[in-house]
Amino acid sequence: MKVELKIWRYDTSTGERALRPYEVDVTEEATLLDTLDAVRDRLDGSLAYRKSCRMMICGSCGMRVDGGAVLACKTRIADVVADGHVPVVSAMGNLPIVKDLVVDMDPFWQKMRAVQPYLEPRLDRATEKENVVAQEQMDMIHKESLCINCGCCVSECNSMESDPDFLGPAALAKGFRFVGDARDGATIDRLERYSEEHGIWDCTRCYFCNERCPKGVDPRDAIAKLGAEAMKAGIDRDMGARHAKWFVTSAKTTGWLRETELVPKTQGVVKAIKEIKFAMSLLPKGKIPLPFPPHVAADIGESRALFDLVTDQGRSGAAGIVQGEKALMHLAHHGESVDGPSHPYDDPRSFPKPYLPDEEPAT
């Protein structure tokens, strides 16, 4: 199969960068990584990219295809070049380029180290054998422990693009891997630390990290879980935390968002007073409803019942970060929905039914 692609090259000795076209022959099942190998072997031995396991576990080959981060070894080239599309391959974003498709991962690892990425054992830890922990409790950090540190989420992070010091999705997901671990004894310290500037409340919730993660870690969900755990622990000094908190209070008490009170509740009264001039300009447009009497939704009972239900189910903190029953299914089945024939042998096209040599073959 002939494949055409373009690669952003960067020559370190001259500082020159250029988009170069290539055409190579690869097999139908070839991945993007196989395609790059063919380019390097047959066309240009100076092309630089990282690779190792070629089975989506080492996290070496993160790069961008048409502006979005992927693992090259997970990407079938036939899917990318369908309908004559010529993809543009470039280095990941938000990290300095070393050469061609190779980025300097040092900033990535510095942030990882900033979240204290190791277990701080509890004082009552087991000393003879293993700590006894229920599987359901370990499931809390199932997704976060899938992370392979490839950097695809960081590459696409919008917050990091505007604030290079933002801890970012990978490091924060790592943070939740410890906050959610029943064996860790530094939960409060961690939540305090992660709640500082450049931490959990600086995420813009664009969900690009969830979308681009090749392993289903869903870093944005991990950040949401950290936020929920921080508020549960009463760590809510950050405006982001207070903002979220007011949403809950407001919805619970009136069934609506009480916008007029949102600013003082988020920023504090002193800062809110400075915003009065701006607020007054909104008043004639009807954007600032008077807080008294409060505007209460007709079926406020339902809103409160919903709140009570979530409380009764014990979904406070991270456990509350699910979006309905589908999300609960997601937890039980690690994100897969299963459709198909009730039993695989029922499908007439299926492979023969297994039998032992001393049995009759199934027909």
Partner: protein, 589 residues
């Protein structure tokens, strides 16, 4: 930190601000080469013993191939059924086809449970049983379910927890030289005093020195075209040791894993069969019943790989493969216990194992042989240790049991780290007189490689090597094919020796250069393997000669082969197997 901004799809390029490792005049107490499970475990232990430790690795530690291990790690915890280190040891001895050194195996199985509890205490994310203890699954040729696991990503969670612990120690002074490709040992007055490296990110030949050096560079699966191994598994440590005059042990024993996907060779875990998966031929017959009537699919790997190959060669395969069938396990079990295998099958074979079997065949997986060491990882060269797949203690003998390799990396990584630290702290720093000379020599050699302008590209030799090794030195070994392969290796080595063209002449991330050096290593190791294989006139474990020597010959060959490099060619000798209490018996499953 720096960052790129998008301009018409191309981020602005910037070089890393500084070379963190410019000052190379530092000498460490313990130098660890390689940062997979064995290397990181050794580094942690040496650091905790009070040594100043540096880790040199051609990949970032979490990219190491230990992370691709899937099924689990063996220790006789007895959490699922009655078990003991003694049973574990017997299974390992029998699995090794009586070539494993029994004293080392006894140490191994005795210390394994403590190592597992320590990993758990560090936060390793293992799967749990109903009581909340560590769960254990059945594995091939094991007398009890003793494989501790984390779904089917056990290597990944081990690599993560070890790197977490390594990072903690990095804040206490442990140094990691990432993307440093070590390619030569430095020897000074009968002692190993460090390694010569190519700095991938910044370019340049550099010396890193230490009082003790631990090789933990992994295996050499890339000798074969169909392999589960990463591109990085090129036997660097073995080749460096060989060229420094050290003996390699049991080089002929390459394990072929029974379930690797066609054509990539990507691994599908033995855990699939541990959880109850079937192997089927094209008719749907569970053919293993005919080869291993008791253990069936859970016979040892050498037995299963031979059975599959026999089926395929008899025309009962499907496109050169047999089928791994998980359909009867049901979605719940597949999604909860084997989600990674399902993802791999869907991505690389287009098959969802819930509804259809996965085509699999044997592929090169693990090299039982390696640098000869004692039970502390010490090699015959003072100051040089080896641990993990690069080493041959020998725990695995002629055939390794699934789940024993991860355990070996931890137990013997720890032991090597401990012993190396005690050695280094108990004596004055290594003399570094030779290091600069050795560095300059290596630099001249690299310059010579880069200067070649005319000739063939290395990838042609690489592809011919991989294909011919698979055809002529695979699961079954026939005399005519082995002879042919000896000739092929000679020819490939000759072509390589004439000089290959490295197109990248630059210094920064020149993987064209490092891959050319790796190819030279692979060629040396292939020559060693072939010679040891030709001379071992018997069938034992992974070395099977069905046409001329189909039986095990304990009288003449219950001994380790020892390969040394003399005048540019491998030279063979033998050493007795160390036995404690298990006399060789007929091996059936």
């Amino acid at each position: 930190m720096g960052r790129g901004t998008a301009v018409a799809g191309c981020p602005v390029a910037r070089r890393p601000a500084s070379d963190r490792f410019q000052a190379m005049d530092v000498s460490f107490d313990v130098l660890v080469v390689g940062a997979g499970c064995a290397g990181m475990r050794a580094a942690i232990e040496a650091h905790d013993a009070g040594a100043r430790v540096a880790v040199v690795s051609k990949l970032h530690p979490t990219r190491s191939h230990s992370g691709a291990a899937e099924g689990g790690i063996n220790a006789a915890l007895g959490n699922k059924a009655e078990d003991s280190p003694e049973t574990h040891a017997f299974d390992t001895v029998k699995g090794s086809d009586y070539l494993g050194d029994q004293d080392a195996i006894e140490i191994f199985t005795r210390e394994a449970p403590g190592d597992i509890y320590q990993l758990e205490g560090w936060g390793c994310v293992f799967s749990r049983n109903a009581e909340g203890k560590l769960d254990q699954r059945p594995f091939g040729a094991a007398g009890s379910p003793r494989t501790v696991y984390s779904a089917d990503i056990t290597g990944h969670v081990l690599i993560q927890v070890l790197y977490e612990q390594l990072q903690r120690r990095m804040s206490e002074g442990l140094v990691v030289f990432e993307e440093y490709f070590a390619f030569r040992l430095v020897e000074d007055g009968g002692r190993c005093t460090g390694v010569i490296c190519w700095d991938l990110l910044h370019g340049g030949v550099k010396a890193v020195t230490g009082s003790a050096t631990i090789l933990a560079t992994g295996g050499a699966g890339r000798l074969f075209r169909a392999t589960t191994n990463a591109y990085a598994c090129t036997g660097d440590g073995m080749a460096m040791a060989l060229r420094a005059g050290l003996p390699l042990k049991d080089m002929e024993f390459m394990q072929f894993h029974p379930t690797t996907m066609y054509p990539s060779g990507i691994l599908i875990t033995e855990g699939c069969r541990g959880e109850g998966g079937y192997l089927l031929n094209k008719d749907g017959e569970r053919f293993m019943k005919r080869y291993a009537p008791n253990a069936l699919e859970l016979a040892s790997r050498d037995v299963v790989s031979r059975s599959e190959t026999t089926e395929i060669e008899a025309g009962r395969g499907v496109n050169g493969s047999v089928m791994l069938d998980l359909r009867h396990l049901g979605p719940e079990k597949i999604l909860n216990k084997l989600p990674g295998s399902r993802e791999l099958a869907m991505t690389y074979a287009g098959v969802d194992p819930i509804f259809a079997p996965i085509p699999v065949r044997p592929g090169a997986h693990y090299h039982m042989g390696g640098v000869e060491t004692d039970e502390w990882g010490l090699t015959p060269l003072e100051g040089l240790y080896a641990a993990g797949e690069v080493a041959c203690v020998s725990v695995h003998g002629a055939n390794r049991l699934g789940g024993n390799s991860l355990m070996e990396t931890i137990t013997f990584g720890r032991r090597a780290g401990r012993h190396a630290a005690e050695y280094a702290l108990g004596r004055t720093a290594a003399a570094n007189g030779r290091a600069e000379t050795a560095r300059a020599d290596a630099e001249a050699w690299v310059d010579g490689l880069l200067a070649v302008e005319q000739g063939e590209r290395p990838w042609q030799i690489r592809d011919e090597l991989g294909q011919s090794m698979l055809e002529n030195f695979g699961v079954f070994r026939y005399p005519d094919k082995m002879d042919r392969q000896v000739g092929i290796i000679d020819e490939l080595r000759h072509r390589y020796g004439r000089g290959v063209v490295i197109e990248d002449k630059g210094t920064v991330f020149n993987s064209d250069l490092t891959q050319a050096i790796e190819l030279g290593y692979l060629l040396d190791l292939a020559a060693c393997m072939l010679q040891a294989g030709v001379v071992r006139k018997e069938s034992r474990g992974a070395h099977s000669r069905p046409s001329d020597f189909p039986e095990r010959d304990d009288e003449n060959f219950m001994k380790h082969s020892i390969t040394t490099w003399v005048d540019g060619a491998p030279q063979l000798s033998y050493r007795e197997v160390r036995m404690t209490k298990w006399e060789p018996m007929v091996r059936s499953y």
